[in-house]
């Protein structure tokens, strides 16, 4: 898998993951994660063409329940955990400019 792998750009991936990194973090994580990626390349040794992937140890499909309304958590308990709230609603920064 190494041929097409151009390596990871930590700064770019951190932006995708919405984590602002300092310059020091970016350079430290780049070298640490390069080592980890180099280590995991050993999986390329194995021929896995005919192997089915495992997503869960015991796959269970279509777990359904009756479509009946249940009890929700109390509104006040949820709002109490919000970082900012007004009149029982969570406050967030403006998304669309006028």
């Amino acid at each position: 898998m190494s041929e097409e792998n151009q390596g990871m750009d930590v700064g770019y991936v951190a932006h995708l993951a919405r984590i602002d990194l300092t310059a020091e973090e970016t350079s430290l994580f780049q070298s640490q994660l390069d080592q980890v990626l180099h280590y995991v390349e050993q999986l390329g040794e194995l021929d896995v063409n005919d192997v089915e992937p495992t997503a869960h140890a015991f796959p269970v499909y279509n777990v359904l329940r009756k479509d009946e309304p249940g009890k929700s958590l109390p509104h006040a308990d949820i709002i109490a955990n919000a970082p900012a709230a007004t009149d029982g609603e969570i406050r967030v920064p403006k998304i669309i400019d006028q």
Partner: protein, 490 residues
């Protein structure tokens, strides 16, 4: 009373039944011990003495009214990633420092129903990402056997509080060894149940296809008693399996014979660089099981060496890339650092809220799932996961359980591996395969290093065969003394 904190669930159950002590007495002794030693150990993040005493009084009242559940009135320490209504659930992260859990995890509801006393919340690696509890943002925990050494992780607080007699028993969670490894490092017993045995509802997820909640205790019998309470199908966790829960605790008899049992020894688990004292203790334990009547057979788990690579791709993909940590965005709960728009808010919040290891794993998980790399990393890792699972299926055709070390070395020094994440990851080589395969395993003390640090024996069985690991562990424990040793905490 004095020293009730040092006893096991089974011993306390007798004293409670005969009226020799009350649950309030036990809680008082546990708090006396916490006051005496937790300043040195640092296992607890949050304690609520009044609430614990209230629960103990209620348990004593239930007993007076005729209740007799084995967990009734027994104090339990809770790993800080399980939601307990009205309490913090920080996951030892700054991003959840001010969060209050609005509901009970299913295992907590089960403990309440069984009359257990919820003692307090213990330290861990942030979001369970780590193997030494050094990635904890809100506390520092030491190994009770030598406070210059790590307690292991991520359930380091759970293991340390049990080993230090600051709790009777504790709950932990195990994604790649996070119950078994700290149990081994601190000289206590820990069980990673089969995936699907225990509901994960209310457990703050690290990697959803690998996480399981389980007990840490002073004896195998105690783990069996607690495990029985934790297990069972839960409609709130669609991955929990509908299957009867065996009577784990009562099935453990006094006869330590292992006659008729085949125990497998995997050559791949005696890895290069393994500490000779660990290898010797484990091989001695194997001989001991043979002397109890077990037949020892060689088995092979040929893909074990790929487990770390597979594990760190799958676990980081499930946590960072796909889900679990994505919800920590500063919008609905947890820390928020304001920004001019939501994107800036997310970036600043997650920068301030997460520690280095969590950031590294989120970045790695995002990368291995990203377009162009998915097949090369994530899909390939899932395929090798199948091969690791098949290894166990083949091995269990030849034996009832597998004996192995838990860790390549005893507990290392605080700070020894914090600068080198890959080096710390490699220590999980003997525990991660079990999570990838989904089956069950137990860790229990089988010796000490010349420096006085505990060494663990791992007993691995097939899926849903917890009875076998408990039986082998109990037989070993009844005929050895390692588990009776206590650390001297100065």
């Amino acid at each position: 009373m004095d020293g009730l904190n040092k006893l096991t669930i089974a011993e306390l159950a007798e004293k409670l039944a005969s009226g020799e002590c009350s649950s309030v007495d036990i809680v008082n002794d546990v708090f006396a011990s916490i006051e005496a030693t937790d300043g040195t150990i640092g296992a607890y993040l949050t304690l609520d003495r009044d609430s614990a005493l209230e629960q103990a009084k209620a348990a004593d009242a239930s007993r007076a009214a005729g209740e007799t559940s084995p967990m009734l009135g027994i104090p339990v320490a809770i790993k800080d990633l399980l939601n307990v209504k009205g309490q913090p659930c920080t996951c030892s992260s700054k991003i959840l420092e001010d969060y209050t859990a609005p509901y009970d995890a299913t295992v907590i509801a089960k403990l309440r129903e069984a009359g257990a006393v919820l003692l307090g919340r213990v330290n861990m690696d942030e979001f369970a990402m780590g193997s030494s509890t050094e990635n904890a943002a809100l506390g520092k925990t030491s190994n009770p056997w030598n406070t210059d050494h790590v307690p292991g992780g991520s359930s380091g607080g759970s293991a340390a509080c049990v080993a230090a007699d600051e709790a009777i028993v504790a709950l932990g969670s195990d994604t790649g060894g996070s119950i078994r490894q700290p149990a081994a490092f601190c000289g206590c017993v820990g069980v990673k149940p089969t995936y699907g045995r225990v509901s994960r509802y209310g457990l703050t997820a690290f990697a959803s296809s690998l996480d399981q909640i389980g007990p840490l205790s002073k004896t195998v019998k105690d783990s069996a008693i607690l495990l029985e309470v934790l297990c069972g199908h839960d409609p709130m966790d669609s991955s929990s399996i509908e299957m009867d829960v065996p009577d784990f605790g009562n099935k453990l008899g006094d006869d330590p014979s292992l006659a008729g049992m085949k125990l497998g020894l995997p050559k791949e688990y005696f890895v290069e660089g393994m500490d000779p004292e660990v290898e010797k203790s484990v091989r001695d334990a194997v001989e001991h099981c043979k002397s109890l009547g077990a037949e020892i057979v060689d088995v092979s788990l040929p893909h074990s060496k790929y487990a770390i690579a597979v594990y760190y791709i799958i676990a980081t993909a499930e946590s960072g890339g796909a889900g679990c940590s994505v919800e920590f965005d500063g919008i609905r709960y947890g820390l928020r650092i304001d920004g001019k728009d939501p994107i800036e808010l997310y970036g600043k919040t997650r920068a301030a809220g997460f520690g280095s290891e969590v950031k590294r794993r989120i970045i790695l998980g995002t990368y291995v799932l990203s377009s162009g790399y998915y097949d090369a990393y994530y899909l390939r890792a899932q395929k090798v996961r199948t091969l690791i699972r098949n290894d166990f299926t083949e091995a269990f055709k030849r034996c009832d359980a597998i004996l192995a070390p838990v860790t390549p070395t005893p507990a290392y020094r605080l700070g020894e591996k914090t600068d080198d994440p890959l080096k710390m990851y490699l220590d999980d080589i003997l525990t991660t395969p079990v999570n990838l395969a989904g089956n069950c395993a137990l860790s229990l003390p089988c010796g000490f290093s010349s420096d006085g640090l505990p060494i663990g024996l791992q007993i691995i069985a097939d899926s849903f065969d917890e009875e076998t690991i408990l039986k082998v562990g109990h037989a070993y424990e009844q005929t050895t003394e390692w588990h009776t040793r206590k650390p001297e905490i100065s």
